[in-house]
C-alpha cells in the first residue's frame, strides 16, 4: 500500500462569492418537509470548462410558494478563477415550489446541460437554451409531478442514446392532513412510519422534448418505499444501467435492469436491502462505485444516528456482502446522521475515499444532550480494505458543525483534485476546496457520446497503470442525496505519470481504447 498525502480541504464559499442559504421555513410547526431538501447540482451550463453550481431552496409553509427572494433557487456561474457570480435572474432559474433536489443532464443531446428540479408535490424540467438562459418545459413534457420527490437522476436505461429520468419519491405529504407527533406538551417531527410511502418513477425520453411515464410498465412502480438518495451503475457488467434507491426506515431497493425495458427489484436477494442484522436503516445518501478496485461497483449508504452507515461489496454473481464491520465504517459512523455523500479519490492515490455531509435532525439536541448540527467527515480508503476517519487532519472546516445536507463533487479549479460543494439548511453553503498535497497524478475523462447519450452517462471506464493496477469508474451525475455531481470520470493514479491503456465501454456496448495517456489532464473522448 502506498502511503497517501494528508487529505486536506479549505472552506472558501464566502471568499469565492458563493453566498447562499437554503431556507426551510421552519416555524415550530414540525412539517416533515422542513427536515429534507437543500440539494445542490454541479454543471457546466455555459460550456466554459468550469463547473457551475445550482442550489435548490425551500418555500413558505404550508403554501409551498416561493413568496420571498430568500426562497429562490440559485445558479452561480464559475468565473474560472474560483470566484462565482449569481446568474439566477438572467438564467431564469429562480424556480417555484418547495424544491428539494436538482439533477443535471443533457436530455436533448444539444451539448448544453439541462436541469431537472424535484420538489414537494411539484417538479420542473429546465431546458438549457445555450445562451445563458433556461426555459421551463411545459407540463406536456410529462415531468411536472405531483409527489414529494427527494432525489432524481439521469440515466439511459434502454441505451437508445437519450437520457431518461429516475425520480425517487418519499412519502405522501399534505400540510392539511399531516400527523402530529411528540408528546402533548412538546410536538416533534414524526417518524417516517407515520407517513404512507410512495413508488418511484421512471420516465422514458421520447427524443422530442417529452417523456413517457414508464414506472408501471418497467416494474419500478411495484415497489413502494420511502425513497431518498439514488445512484446508478452497471452492477453486473451486462451493459445496462441498474438503479439503487436508499429508503428511509424501510428496506432499500436495487432495481436490476433486465435489458428489455423492465427491472426486477433484487435488493433482498442481493443482500443490500437491510443492515447485516436484518433491520432497515434510515437510508439517506448513496453512491454506487468500486471502492476496492475489483471492477465491480459497490454501495455506500448513509443513515441516522445509531444506524451506522452501510458498505456493501459487490461479489458479482454472488450478490453483495456487508463490509460495514470489517471496513471499520460500522462503528466509526454510528454516532452520525449522514445526508449527502460521495466516493471519490480525494488524494489521487488510486483508492476512492468517502466524504459525508452530516447533521442530526434539527431540534434533536435535547434528546442527544449535545448540538444536533454536525461537522462533515472524510474517510480515507486504506487500499480497499478499510476506511479511516481522517477528518481531524482535514482542515478547520471539518470541525465546524452545521445542518449539512446535499453535497456535489467537481474539480472547480481544474487542479486535478476533487472539491465538494455542500448545501446547508438555514446556514451558509460551503465550498470545500481540496488542498491535499499534489503528490500523486490524476486523469479526468470527459466523454462525448455520438451514438450514446451526449454526456456518455453510464459509460464504464477501465484504466491500466504501469504499476500493474487497474482502476475502474463510470460516468454518472447521480451521487449522494438530492444532488448531482460533475459528469467527468476521474481517476487518481498514484505515482504513475501515464496510463498504459484506457478502455471505454459506452452504453450500448461499443468499446473504445486509448493507449499511453499522459496524466494530469482532462482527456476529451468523442465516441467513435
Amino acid at each position: 500500500m502506498i502511503a497517501g498525502p494528508t487529505i486536506r480541504f479549505e472552506e472558501i464559499a464566502q471568499k469565492a462569492g458563493l453566498r447562499f442559504e437554503c431556507k426551510n421555513a421552519a416555524a415550530g410547526r414540525f412539517h416533515q418537509v422542513e427536515l429534507m431538501g437543500a440539494g445542490v447540482a454541479v454543471l457546466d451550463y455555459n460550456n466554459d470548462g468550469c463547473m457551475d453550481v445550482y442550489f435548490t431552496n425551500g418555500a413558505a409553509l404550508p403554501s409551498l410558494r416561493k413568496t420571498s427572494p430568500a426562497f429562490q433557487n440559485r445558479l452561480f456561474r464559475n468565473n474560472c478563477d474560483l470566484t462565482f457570480t449569481d446568474v439566477t435572474a438572467e438564467a431564469g432559474l429562480s424556480g417555484e415550489g418547495y424544491s428539494m433536489a436538482a439533477a443535471a443532464g443533457d436530455f436533448d443531446n444539444d451539448g448544453f446541460t439541462d436541469l431537472f428540479v424535484a420538489g414537494v408535490n411539484r417538479n420542473s424540467l429546465y431546458r438549457n437554451l445555450g445562451n445563458g438562459r433556461f426555459v421551463e418545459m411545459p407540463a406536456s413534457a410529462g415531468l411536472s409531478g405531483h409527489h414529494w420527490s427527494i432525489s432524481a437522476g439521469w440515466l439511459d436505461y434502454d441505451n437508445d442514446g437519450y437520457l431518461d429520468l429516475f425520480v425517487s419519491n418519499y412519502v405522501y405529504w399534505n400540510a392539511a392532513t399531516e400527523p402530529r407527533c411528540g408528546t402533548a406538551e412538546q410536538q416533534f417531527y414524526c417518524h417516517p412510519g407515520a407517513y404512507t410511502g410512495l413508488p418511484n418513477q421512471l420516465f422514458h425520453n421520447n427524443h422530442d422534448g417529452t417523456f413517457t411515464d414508464v414506472s408501471e410498465r418497467s416494474g419500478i412502480a411495484k415497489s413502494i418505499g420511502k425513497g431518498m438518495g439514488v445512484a446508478f451503475a452497471d452492477m453486473d457488467g451486462d451493459g445496462f444501467t441498474d438503479i439503487f434507491v436508499a429508503n428511509d426506515s424501510v428496506r432499500n431497493f436495487l432495481f436490476h435492469n433486465q435489458g428489455d425495458g423492465t427491472f426486477a427489484e433484487v435488493g433482498l436477494e442481493s443482500g443490500v436491502a437491510l443492515r447485516d442484522d436484518g433491520n432497515p436503516i434510515a437510508g439517506m445518501g448513496t453512491d454506487f462505485r468500486d471502492f476496492d478496485n475489483d471492477g465491480r461497483p459497490d454501495l455506500i449508504i448513509s443513515g441516522m444516528i445509531n444506524d451506522s452507515f452501510l458498505l456493501f461489496r459487490n461479489l458479482g454473481e454472488k450478490g453483495f456482502e456487508d463490509r460495514g464491520g470489517s471496513s471499520g465504517l460500522l462503528m466509526a459512523t454510528r454516532q452520525y446522521t449522514g445526508w449527502g455523500l460521495g466516493m471519490f479519490d480525494l488524494d489521487n492515490d488510486g483508492w476512492k475515499d468517502l466524504f459525508f455531509a452530516l447533521a442530526h435532525f434539527n431540534q434533536l439536541d435535547r434528546y442527544l444532550g449535545r448540538d444536533s448540527a454536525l461537522a462533515n467527515r472524510v474517510f480515507r480508503n486504506r487500499a480497499g480494505r478499510s476506511f479511516e476517519d481522517v477528518s481531524a487532519f482535514a482542515g478547520a472546516a471539518f470541525q465546524l458543525p452545521a445542518y449539512n445536507r446535499g453535497v456535489a463533487f467537481a474539480d472547480f479549479d481544474n487542479d486535478g483534485r476533487v472539491d465538494a460543494i455542500v448545501s446547508v439548511l438555514n446556514g451558509p453553503a460551503k465550498l470545500f476546496r481540496n488542498l491535499t498535497p499534489a503528490t500523486f497524478h490524476w486523469l479526468g475523462v470527459k466523454l462525448t457520446g455520438t451514438h450514446s447519450n451526449r454526456q456518455g452517462l453510464g459509460a464504464r471506464i477501465t484504466l491500466q497503470l504501469p504499476d500493474g493496477r487497474t482502476l475502474y469508474n463510470h460516468a454518472t451525475t447521480s451521487v449522494g442525496y438530492a444532488s448531482s455531481s460533475e459528469p467527468i470520470v476521474r481517476f487518481g493514479m498514484g505515482e504513475n505519470q501515464m496510463a498504459k491503456r484506457m478502455e471505454i465501454h459506452w452504453p450500448g456496448g461499443r468499446v473504445q481504447e486509448l493507449l499511453d495517456i499522459p496524466a494530469d489532464r482532462v482527456v476529451e473522448v468523442k465516441q467513435k
Binding site: 433482498l268 436477494e269 447485516d276 436484518g278 433491520n279 464491520g325 454516532q335 434528546y367 444532550g369 449535545r370
Partner: protein, 250 residues
C-alpha cells in the same frame, strides 16, 4: 432484584398504602396493568410518599410509553429516598428509552454506584455508552455485567453483538456459545450464531442456525431478520429457498 423487592416491601410495610400497593404489585406481575394502575393510585392516595408505589407507578407509565409521567414520578421517589437504587436505575432507563443518552449515562452511573452488584445497571450503562460511540467502555460494562450475572443470556448476547460490530469474531463466538450453553433454545442466540457464521462465510452452518432460530419461540429477533439472513445463506446453495425467504419479506 430480590433484595430490592424485599427492601421495597419492608419500606412499604409501615405505610397505610401498603395493602393497596401489594395488590398493585401482584396485579402487575399478572400483567393486569389497568387494575394495577388503579391499585397503585389508591396506594398513593393513602400515602403519597410511598416509594415502592411511586416506583411501580413509574413502571406502569413506562409500560404505556409515558416516559414523561415516569420521569416525574421517579423524581418524586428519588427526592424522598435519594439512595434507592432501583428507582435510580429506572430513572436512567426512562432517559435511555426516550433516547436522551447523556442524562441516561449520568443516571445509570449513579445507579451503578448505589448498587454495584446490579448487573442490569451495568448492562444498560454499557448500552448507553455504545449508543454514544464508546464501544470499548461499553464492552467493559458488559464484561462486568456478565461477571455479576454469568448466566444472563441477554447480557451475553449484548456483548456478542458489540463484538461482532467491532469485527472481533472469535470473542463474539465465545459469548454466543456461552449464552447457548445456558439457554440452548434461545432464538436470539441461534440468530446471532447464524450472523457470525455468515460473516465468516460458513453459509451452510449459518443456514442451519438460521432455520433453527426461525422455528424457536419468539424472542427479540423478528422473523423478518431471520428471513433476511436465510436469503443470504441460501443464495448460492439453494436459490429456491432464498427466493422463498425473500418472498416472505415482500
Amino acid at each position: 432484584m430480590m433484595i430490592w423487592a424485599a427492601m421495597l416491601l419492608v419500606a412499604a410495610a409501615q405505610s397505610p398504602g401498603t395493602p393497596a400497593y401489594e395488590r398493585a404489585s401482584a396485579l402487575f406481575q399478572k400483567r393486569n396493568l389497568p387494575a394495577s394502575q388503579a391499585a397503585v393510585d389508591e396506594a398513593l392516595s393513602l400515602d403519597p410518599r410511598l416509594v415502592p408505589a411511586l416506583t411501580l407507578k413509574a413502571k406502569l407509565a413506562m409500560a404505556a410509553k409515558r416516559f414523561d409521567i415516569a420521569r416525574t414520578v421517579l423524581e418524586q421517589a428519588l427526592a424522598i429516598e435519594p439512595t434507592a437504587a432501583y428507582p435510580q436505575f429506572l430513572y436512567g432507563l426512562q432517559f435511555y428509552l426516550s433516547n436522551e443518552l447523556q442524562p441516561a449515562l449520568t443516571q445509570f452511573r449513579k445507579a451503578r454506584e448505589l448498587n454495584p452488584s446490579d448487573a442490569r445497571a451495568a448492562q444498560y450503562l454499557g448500552l448507553t455508552m455504545e449508543s454514544l460511540g464508546q464501544p470499548i467502555e461499553a464492552l467493559t460494562q458488559y464484561e462486568q455485567a456478565a461477571k455479576l450475572n454469568p448466566k444472563n443470556t441477554d447480557i451475553l448476547l449484548t456483548g456478542a453483538r458489540l463484538l461482532l460490530s467491532l469485527n472481533r469474531l472469535p470473542e463474539s463466538a465465545q459469548w454466543i456459545d456461552q449464552s447457548l450453553q445456558f439457554d440452548p433454545k434461545s432464538r436470539d442466540a441461534h440468530f446471532e450464531k447464524a450472523r457470525l457464521l455468515l460473516r465468516r462465510g460458513d453459509l451452510a452452518h449459518a443456514a442451519e442456525q438460521g432455520e433453527l432460530a426461525l422455528h424457536l419461540p419468539a424472542g427479540d429477533t423478528l422473523d423478518s431478520q431471520i428471513h433476511y439472513l436465510l436469503i443470504r445463506a441460501y443464495r448460492d446453495s439453494d436459490p429456491a429457498a432464498a427466493a422463498r425467504h425473500a418472498e416472505s419479506l415482500r
